[in-house]
Structures are given as structure tokens and as C-alpha cells.
């Protein structure tokens, strides 16, 4: 197992290096540079050249690439061109924990809603319950967060007045170990519910559908019939024997899904006014903010590699027949 982990981690290094090189060239392949325009006014030639010299963009490409990789290894991505008073590392350090907290909570919501819904739908296949759950799942997939977000905000914050309308409930500068919120704070939870639910709902639907399909297959297997034959109660059979096995496909999508939730939460973050990193993924490209693009893509890759590794390890727990040699 340890050997497997080490091997996987070592393999991650060339993968990340390749991603860095490809991103470097892709970012520069987009027409236009970071200092061409401010708003709709063109930046004068001389000023643009001055700025490019200041940020090393006048060097030959291979030198820039070498510098970028060397700096990135030391976690130094340089200043953000769009917000020159901050470095990319500052921005990621500040925003990543927030998006991570939101992502974890959203994923929890997605699982807590999706798995039971999928299970019930599978067990009661082709009944009104199944149709209802499937309908809800399709609704969840098709309703964009930019509809559910304001809708939930309107109901729970404005009409009922139970929850705050927007923003994240932690002091961004005072996180435990620079990463974790104060979990005992009521303010944190009150603020967290609406955005996490909005983000989680969208994903819970696809988890429910996957769980249902997978469980339907599993409960027709021989070992389930055996379990019933032994006289095990229905609920225990489905949950302990059936569900655990049927979660393998769910776990497989969870890895990339988590990386996607953490980095792709721009719309939810914008609706609820949360200072996460979702925004930077989009604006860094439109601003041609090369250091930010590189930092963001690298972080996403690390997250993806890490989440996939976690998923692979969890297979062994879900299905003891799986071995790593």
C-alpha cells in the first residue's frame, strides 16, 4: 500500500511538470497580452513596453518558462498583473481555504442528499417514489446555481428571515492553521448553509442518479440474493451489502467532482459574495494575467491528482477484493 502511494506520488511529478509546460504555452497562445488594454482604452506602446520589461515579458520564451518553473517549485508565482499590489501566492493562500471550506460542505450536502435519494429510488424502482426522486434529480441537474441561489436566498433570508442573505461567516484573516474555520461559531454555520446547499444541490442530483443506476445493478447480484436467503432483513442487506459495493462508481466521480467544486464555484461565490478563488479562474484568462493562470491551473492539477489518489485508496475500503500491488 505504502509502496503504491509512493509510486503514485512520484508519477505525479512528471504529470504536473507537463501540465505546467502546456499551460505556459497555451496561455501565451491566446491573442493579446496582459498590458494591451485597460477597459476599452488602449495602453500606449511605450507604457506597455515598460510594463512588459518590469515583469520580464520581454525575455525569450524559453527563459520565461525556465524562470516560471523554477519559481513555481518554490511556490513563488510572482505578482498578479491584474492586482499589482498582491502576489499570486497571497491570493491563493487567502482564497483557497474559503473555496475548500465551501467545497467540502457542498460535497457533504451533495452526498447526504444524493445517496439516500438514489438508494430509495433504486429500492422502490418504478414506483411513484422512484419517479419523484428521478424527477427531482433531473430538476437538480438542469437548474443552474444562478437560479437556485437567488431563489434560496429569497425564501430563507428575505421571506423567512432565518439566514443571512450573503457572505461567508468567517474572518478571512483568522483561520485555524490558516485553513480551518471556527466550527463552533454559529455565525459560520448560518452563513454557510445557503451557499453550500446551492452548490451541493447541483451535484447531489448527479450523485443520486449514479447511485440509483449502480445500486440497481448490484441488488440483482447473487450475493445479495444469498443475503436475503440467509434471512437478513431487507434494509440491512441493501445498506450494508448492496450500497457499499455500488458506491465504487460514485467514488470514482467524486475525485474530479471535488476538484471541480472547489475551483468551479465562481457563480455561487459571486451570488453570495464569497471571496473564494472561483473568480480568479475565469478573470485570470480574460485579463491575460499569466502568473494567475499558471498558479490557478497548477493548484487545480494538484487538487485533481490528490483527489484521484484518495479515490483510488478508498476503493480498497469499499471493495476489499481490490488490491494494490
Amino acid at each position: 500500500m505504502i509502496q503504491y502511494l509512493v509510486r503514485r506520488l512520484l508519477w505525479a511529478i512528471p504529470v504536473l511538470l507537463a501540465i505546467m509546460v502546456v499551460t505556459f504555452f497555451l496561455a501565451r497562445a491566446i491573442p493579446g497580452g496582459p498590458f494591451d488594454f485597460r477597459g476599452d482604452k488602449q495602453i500606449p506602446e511605450t507604457i506597455r513596453k515598460n510594463l512588459e520589461r518590469k515583469y520580464g515579458l520581454d525575455l525569450p520564451l524559453h527563459q520565461q518558462l525556465g524562470r516560471w518553473i523554477w519559481d513555481a517549485i518554490r511556490f513563488d508565482f510572482g505578482p498578479s498583473y491584474a492586482s499589482r499590489s498582491q502576489t499570486v501566492t497571497d491570493i491563493l493562500k487567502r482564497t483557497f481555504p474559503i473555496s475548500f471550506q465551501l467545497g467540502v460542505l457542498a460535497l457533504l450536502f451533495a452526498l447526504c442528499i444524493g445517496i439516500p435519494m438514489g438508494t430509495i429510488a433504486a429500492v422502490k424502482q418504478n414506483t411513484i417514489v422512484d419517479y419523484g426522486a428521478t424527477f427531482a434529480a433531473i430538476l437538480g441537474v438542469s437548474m443552474p446555481t444562478m437560479v437556485t441561489g437567488p431563489l434560496l436566498m429569497w425564501v430563507f433570508a428575505l421571506i423567512l428571515g432565518w439566514l443571512p442573505a450573503a457572505r461567508w461567516g468567517t474572518d478571512y484573516t483568522q483561520l485555524y492553521l490558516g485553513f480551518f474555520p471556527n466550527l463552533l461559531s454559529g455565525k459560520f454555520w448560518l452563513h454557510a448553509i445557503l451557499p453550500s446547499l446551492t452548490l451541493g444541490l447541483a451535484y447531489s442530483a448527479s450523485i443520486a442518479r449514479l447511485t440509483r443506476a449502480s445500486l440497481l445493478q448490484v441488488i440483482r447480484e447473487d450475493y445479495i440474493r444469498t443475503a436475503y436467503a440467509k434471512g437478513l432483513p431487507g434494509r440491512r442487506t441493501v445498506i450494508l451489502h448492496g450500497l457499499r459495493n455500488s458506491l465504487i462508481p460514485v467514488a470514482t466521480v467524486l475525485g474530479p467532482m471535488f476538484a471541480g467544486i472547489v475551483t468551479g464555484s465562481m457563480i455561487v461565490e459571486q451570488i453570495f459574495g464569497i471571496a473564494g478563488m472561483g473568480k480568479y479562474f475565469v478573470t485570470s484568462v480574460t485579463n491575460r494575467d499569466y502568473p494567475m493562470i499558471m498558479g490557478a491551473v497548477l493548484l487545480y492539477s494538484v487538487l485533481l491528482v490528490g483527489a484521484n489518489l484518495l479515490v483510488d485508496v478508498s476503493y480498497a475500503w469499499l471493495d476489499p477484493r481490490i488490491r494494490y500491488d
Binding site: 495602453i43 507604457i47 487567502r94 433570508a157 442573505a165 459574495g273 471571496a275
Partner: protein, 585 residues
């Protein structure tokens, strides 16, 4: 003894009383993360709003007339030729910063432990830093009226040659014996009556050289920034919130009379979220409720009272190419301008609280004549005019010009591709067709970049449309930036192709040319305003070079406890909150 004890108690009580009084907090949404807080780099309204609170200018602008009034400079002198402007600064303003450990605003001390006053050197440094090619300021061009500024900014000249410096002190023989640390002198390349407005701009404000040298680009972060204005930055969590606290050391004369101690800003982008927070009393004032909510707000008995519609310094207009027949006849142009039902456009088409326009420059520009009943009263339905009367008058004008009912008239109206412009163009096409049923009005569209090239005065006349649409937003709040820079026949962009040789209104165009040029060179605000009034009247009523359609607007909502004053940029130190009313909710 009892009495003295009571007296001591009273004194102590009075001393600690302010410590117990809760600070008056304004909750404000900036609408987006400010891209910068650096006066040299600000170019968007959000950055400029926070820069305005933190940095004083040599002059400020009167909130009604937009004429320069004293701020850092107690007074100023303009030489007889209008080329030299000397600002004499007050000596009681100091650089301050927020001390996070002490939890309060403190003076910024120099190496010797002395307070640092704001001096002319800071202004000179600020102007030169803005102009330095290294800084990469995109607003540097507004300073090009200063001698040597253009060359320095382009890198062809030296910063030392820029015409800004301390006022030399001379002895009896006329030799320079020193410099007045509190007097700044600007040398201009041409007389510019609007230089007061330029001197008030953020790019010309004093900047703290020592802090910038020490921290580089990061000097605007709250732990580094040193400022001199009404409010001091306490925290800035990027993309989330900023907190500003009142500067206790600012001279009373420079404080705007408001009562707000702290301003807590958030940076919510979504206007529906902002509106929800406002309804939830999480914000005291907002700029721009969501458009789909406007109908509801206007009819709601409570919300409609909280809505304030204020002019924004931008104007939407249609321009007429005056050399392309049949648009060469001013009566045709006037008839078309008169039959635009501006009221219907703002109420039925744009719906954003815009204001029907009868002049080029709106109500927040120095020298404007907006909504004056003496200029194109038919456009705004005043002085006995309404739309029906305007249509009748326009039909007579067109018949007199040889096009009864529009017979024989074929007009091309062009706009850049956009759904909003298309809706307005279609509405106006329908109005014109209804008023002149026999005329033909054709709408053409082009992509923005192509469109801008098409409508310049260099394009061959057969390729330009008869009517083009454009909007103009101020670079600085002075008519020079409007009637002169945009429309002056010899020195402006002059897209309508005005010329003093015009067979119909040549004399009026020559006068317009002279008036707008002269007004830019005078320094007396009363005289200038008079000339600009005449220029607007000539432009809209006689030459009819453009048909102004509407002034853009801000829709501002204030909670009942909130009192806000109006400047082109918000001045928080003039705002007030009634805490007793707020506590009631």
C-alpha cells in the same frame, strides 16, 4: 468637598463618555473589488471612490457648480497669460496611517520621529510619479496640458523637465534663494481655464514617496499605506471587504460635516444580492437596484420613497453628419431631433431612470446647461412644449425644407451591434416614420471597432451614415471635455463634420468654434459658464449637430436613516446616519 468630588466625577465621565459611545458605522457595497487604491493608477469609479476618501487634492469641486474650491490649497493664482498656476497650500495637514497594534489612527513619523506635513514636494512627486513611464498610469494623459508632461510620459523627455515644481523664493535682485515648501507651481502649454478641475483629479494628488519607495507596488496594502484624507484604511481583505476609519487629525475645515466614524465596505458584484442585503438592513445605501426590480420599487409605497435618481456624467446621443445631404439642411436635422420622443424612450425602452436630455453635457459637468428651458425646450417638454406640439412643428420644418410628410427623404441611421442600441434605434425609427410617413429610415449596424472607424471625419462621405449613435462619459467634469474636445470644428473630434463654410449655419459654427476655444482659456468661472451656455444653445438649437437623447443616471437607494450628499465621486465625510432611527430598524 462634596461639590469638587462631583465635579471630578463629571469631568472623568465626560472624558470617558466618547469611549462608550458606539461608533457610527456606514455599511456600503462598492460593487466590485477596487482594482487599486493608488492615486496614480486609479481609472475606474470604484478605485476612485476609495482614493477620494484617503487622499486630499489641491482643490475639490463644488458639489453644485463643479467649480474648483479650496482643499489642500487655500488659494491659487493664475498668471495673466493663463499659463502659470500657483497653488498655496495649508500647513496643517499631516500624513497618517492606521496602527493595527494600537487600534487607532496615528501620525506617520519620519526617521527623526517628527510628524510629516503634506507639502508641495508630495504634490510634485505625485504628478511626476503619475507621468513616469515606469508607473504605467493610464490616466496620465489628462496631465498632458502641463509643459513637458507628454514627452516625459512617452519617455522622450525627462521627468525633471515637467512643468511642476515648488515656487521659488526670490530676493530683491530677483535671484532664487530658496523654495516655498507649501506652494506648487504648474506651467502649462496653453491657457486652460479647466486646469482647476485637472488639479482636483486623483492623478495629481500628493503621494507619499517614502512609503512607495519602501513597499513598491504593495504600498497600498493596509499595513503599508500612508494617507492624508478624511478616512484611513484599516483593513482590506481583497475581494471581500474593506474597513475605513475616520481620520481624527484632519483639519475641521476639510471635514465635510458628516457623522460617520467607520465605513464597512463589501464588494458584492451581484446586484440582486446587494438588493437582498439592502432589504435585510445589511447595507445602508446602494447604487443601482436590479433593473427588473425597478417597476416594483417605483410602485412600492415604502421603497419608492427610498429611491433617488441622480444624473451620471454620461450622455447618449445621435450625431448628424452635416455634410451629407439631405442632412446638410439644419431644418431636416432639427425636425428629426424634435420627433424623438425622449420621455417614451426612457420610460418604455431603457427604463433605468435615465433623464431626457436637451443638451450635450449633463447636470454634473461644470458649465452645463442641462434642462434649461432656453435650450431645445421641445426635447424635455417644458415651456409649453409637449411631444404632439413638437411633431407638428417638425412637420412644418420638413415641409418648409422641401420634404412634405418626408417625401423624398431617405436616411441611414447606424449604430454598433448591441441589443440595447437596437431597441432604441427601432423605437426612434418608429417615431420618425409615424411623424413623416413618406420618408424612408434605414437602420444599419456594425461591430464596435469597425463602427468607430466608420464614423470618424476621415471616412469618405459615401461610407458614413446620415445619423450615428454614440455616448460620451466625462474624463473630468468640465465642458472643455465635452463641447470642445468632442465637437469643436477645428480642435475636437468633430464627427458631425462642422465647418465655418457651412452654407446654412456657417456663422453659428464659427461662433461655436470661437466660444468653446475661448472658454477653455479663461479662468473666471462665471464668464466660462456663460460661454458654455451659449455653446450648448448654438450646438443643439441652431446648428443641430447632435440630438441629445438622455443623460445616464444612477439609481440610489437610501435607508430612511441615511443622508447622502451628491458629488461626482462620493464624499463619505459629508454623509450622515441617524443612529436612533437606525436602531428602530
Amino acid at each position: 468637598m462634596k461639590l469638587s468630588k462631583l465635579a471630578i466625577l463629571a469631568v472623568v465621565g465626560l472624558m470617558i463618555w466618547p469611549a462608550f459611545a458606539a461608533p457610527v458605522i456606514l455599511n456600503r457595497n462598492l460593487g466590485t473589488e477596487p482594482p487599486t487604491a493608488d492615486p496614480a493608477l486609479g481609472e475606474d469609479t470604484t478605485s476612485i471612490e476609495i482614493i477620494e476618501q484617503m487622499f486630499l487634492g489641491l482643490v475639490d469641486m463644488d458639489e453644485v457648480t463643479m467649480a474648483p474650491i479650496p482643499e489642500l490649497a487655500a488659494r491659487w493664482e493664475v498668471s495673466a497669460d493663463g499659463l502659470t498656476w500657483t497653488f498655496f497650500m495649508r500647513k496643517d495637514v499631516y500624513w497618517v496611517k492606521y496602527d493595527a497594534k494600537a487600534g487607532q489612527v496615528v501620525y506617520d513619523l519620519d526617521e527623526g520621529g517628527q510628524k510629516r506635513p503634506v507639502t508641495g514636494n508630495d504634490v510634485v512627486y505625485g504628478v511626476k510619479r503619475t507621468l513616469s513611464p515606469e508607473t504605467g498610469s493610464n490616466y496620465a494623459y489628462v496631465l498632458y496640458i502641463i509643459d513637458g508632461a507628454l514627452e516625459a510620459n512617452e519617455g522622450t523627455g525627462a521627468l525633471d523637465d515637467v512643468g511642476v515644481g515648488l515656487l521659488p523664493i526670490k530676493n530683491e535682485k530677483g535671484e532664487t534663494v530658496g523654495y516655498d515648501q507649501y506652494a506648487v507651481q504648474f506651467k502649462l502649454i496653453a491657457p486652460a481655464g479647466y486646469f482647476g478641475q485637472i488639479a482636483s483629479m486623483w492623478v495629481a494628488r500628493p503621494q507619499p514617496q517614502w512609503a512607495i519607495a519602501k513597499h513598491g507596488d504593495a504600498w497600498i496594502e493596509p499595513e503599508n499605506i500612508v494617507t492624508n484624507g478624511s478616512y484611513v484604511m484599516k483593513t482590506w481583505v481583497h475581494n471581500d471587504n474593506l474597513v475605513f476609519v475616520r481620520n481624527p487629525y484632519i483639519p475641521a475645515a476639510l471635514w465635510g460635516g458628516g457623522n460617520i466614524d467607520e465605513v464597512h465596505c463589501v464588494t458584492i458584484v451581484e446586484d440582486s444580492t446587494e438588493f437582498a442585503m439592502y432589504l435585510n438592513n445589511e447595507l445602508d445605501t446602494i447604487d443601482g437596484p436590479p433593473l427588473p426590480e425597478m417597476d416594483r420599487i417605483k410602485t412600492d409605497p415604502v421603497l419608492s420613497k427610498q429611491l433617488n435618481i441622480r444624473p451620471q456624467p454620461c450622455t447618449y446621443y445621435y450625431g448628424f453628419v452635416t455634410t451629407k445631404p439631405p442632412m446638410d439642411n439644419p431644418d431636416v436635422r432639427k425636425a428629426l431631433s424634435m420627433t424623438i420622443d425622449r420621455k417614451t424612450i426612457v420610460e418604455q425602452v431603457t427604463k433605468g431612470g435615465q433623464i431626457p436630455a436637451n443638451t450635450f453635457a449633463g447636470g454634473t459637468i461644470f458649465g452645463n446647461a442641462a434642462l434649461s428651458p432656453e435650450i431645445a425646450p421641445w426635447a424635455i417638454g417644458v415651456a409649453g412644449w409637449d411631444y404632439d406640439k413638437a411633431v407638428t412643428a417638425a412637420q412644418q420644418l420638413l415641409a418648409g425644407a422641401g420634404y412634405p410628410d418626408g417625401a423624398g427623404l431617405e436616411i441611414i441611421l447606424m449604430h454598433n451591434v448591441s441589443e440595447g442600441h437596437a431597441r432604441i434605434a427601432q423605437a426612434i425609427q418608429a417615431m420618425w416614420t409615424k411623424a413623416f410617413p413618406k420618408a424612408k429610415f434605414i437602420i444599419e449596424t456594425q461591430e464596435w471597432g469597425t463602427y468607430l472607424k466608420t464614423i470618424t471625419k476621415e471616412t469618405p462621405i459615401e461610407n458614413v451614415p446620415h445619423v450615428y449613435r454614440l455616448g460620451w462619459c466625462q474624463d473630468y467634469p468640465d465642458q472643455n471635455n465635452w463641447v470642445h474636445e468632442v465637437l469643436n470644428p477645428t480642435l475636437g473630434e468633430n464627427k458631425p463634420r462642422l465647418s465655418a463654410n457651412d452654407p446654412y449655419v456657417g456663422a453659428a459654427i464659427a461662433r461655436f468654434d470661437a466660444v468653446t476655444t475661448q472658454a477653455g482659456r479663461l479662468s473666471d468661472p462665471v464668464e466660462r459658464a456663460k460661454l458654455y451656455f451659449e455653446a450648448e444653445k448654438l450646438l443643439i438649437d441652431e446648428i443641430v449637430a447632435i440630438a441629445p437623447i438622455y443623460y445616464y443616471s444612477y439609481n440610489i437607494m437610501n435607508k430612511p436613516w441615511m443622508t447622502r450628499k451628491w458629488h461626482d465621486t462620493p464624499h463619505w465625510d459629508t454623509w450622515s446616519i441617524d443612529m436612533a432611527l437606525k436602531a428602530k430598524g
